[in-house]
Symmetry: C2
Subunit: 242 residues, 2 copies
């Protein structure tokens, strides 16, 4: 009976761990959605709420870290359970950073007093929509230990990167056309980059899920779709002129 | 004798873990230094080497993760040893991301074909110098389990943030003065942001070191010096006009 009781307590701890990850992910998903809504609707109050939510995300990371150490010390898990615990530590780090990025989007949405080219916020919304779907799906794949779903998220990161590439070009063009747009467009550049990074972290989590289930790291080269780092001045000048 | 042998093997594994972290950190520190040198000297070959080095950083992260799981499964460490293992998983994630940022600086240094305002690269060099010092010191604090040194790094992040804030303003001003500078300056903006993020990750590691030694998370609010997210268009227009 004692042994059974212990097993039950252990299972409950593992469940608590999973739930804390899912709760953290749910908040981050909402933070991203709200930060974009705040940007599009020019809603500073909503943006402030996104920034405040970050404290809950940080607190959950601390809780997950402490829970992991506790389970490792008391239960000495092995095999897949052990991989879940170490994976949870990593996933919590990724989610914490994603929350930071979403909060940064919210901060910048407050800083941007007006955005004239409405088309840009549409493009950013669309990009954020893909990233949000990735967060949702990768959390589902974590919950269900579903490698196939995780790898689908991993591949979808290319779509985010493509959106980012075209936004990057478009934003530079807008800046060149009118110097008064430089400050708001610089913020939009960083907003787009933040979303692109959120996508990167979702692919990180996808790799971790695959590792938890299979026990081996993902070998395939991650599709690297962000090519703007290689974007040279000449091309842009041309793009701006055309 | 067998027990002694086991203890020795265990100690060797813990040492291997520490050394892998220090090796990883050493590469990242060099990546940052070289990426800035590549930028300042316009040395594309050096930049390419920084990008290639990233594979070694990634391989070390995988090695650390696997070593951690192995030690946890076979040795069932407790107390400070257990905290070191879980901390190493987190530190490896931070270092991997720092390596990514340095590689991104290198990629952008290739993209920027010419930088006219030499003053900007000086400012970026200076900022990178602080971040590099933070990496070195936080790794030393990890090696020596030295909380005081870790917390000194943690506080130094404000200097990086201040450098970033003034660079952000200066770069926007340069862009406004001449639209041909927009593309190179956008890359410099991201380079500066990458360095600022590297500083953030160094403070993360400082917090982890403190947790390893004391067993409790850092309670103090981290000094948040990057205020550019709140930077509004009007201020910049004024700055540009003056």
């Amino acid at each position: 009976m004692v042994a059974e009781h212990t097993v039950k307590a252990y299972d409950e701890e593992l469940d608590r761990m999973d739930n804390a990850i899912l709760e953290m992910g749910g908040i981050v998903e909402q933070q991203l959605a709200d930060s974009i809504l705040a940007l599009v609707r020019r809603d500073d109050e909503l943006a402030s709420r996104v920034i405040t939510e970050d404290r809950r995300v940080d607190a959950l990371e601390t809780e997950i870290d402490q829970l992991a150490v506790r389970i490792l010390a008391l239960r000495q898990p092995v095999a897949v359970d052990l991989r879940v615990i170490t994976a949870s530590l990593k996933v919590a780090s990724d989610l914490e950073r994603m929350g930071d990025y979403a909060a940064n989007v919210a901060k910048r949405s407050i800083a941007i007093q007006e955005i004239d080219p409405i088309r840009l916020t549409h493009a950013i919304s669309r990009m954020a929509g893909i990233a949000q779907g990735m967060i949702k799906d990768v959390l589902d794949s974590f919950r269900d230990r579903d490698v196939e779903r995780a790898m689908a998220v991993w591949r979808r990161d290319e779509d985010v990167d493509e959106s980012y590439n075209s936004l990057f070009r478009e934003l530079l063009t807008y800046m060149m056309e009118d110097p008064r747009r430089i400050t708001p467009c610089a913020h939009l550049l960083f907003i787009a980059k933040n979303i692109e990074r959120i996508g990167d972290h979702a692919t990180n989590i996808a790799e971790i899920v695959s590792y938890v289930v299979t026990g081996t790291p993902v070998e395939e080269e991650r599709p690297k779709g962000d090519v703007t780092s290689f974007h040279q001045a000449d091309d842009d000048t041309e793009a701006a002129a055309s």
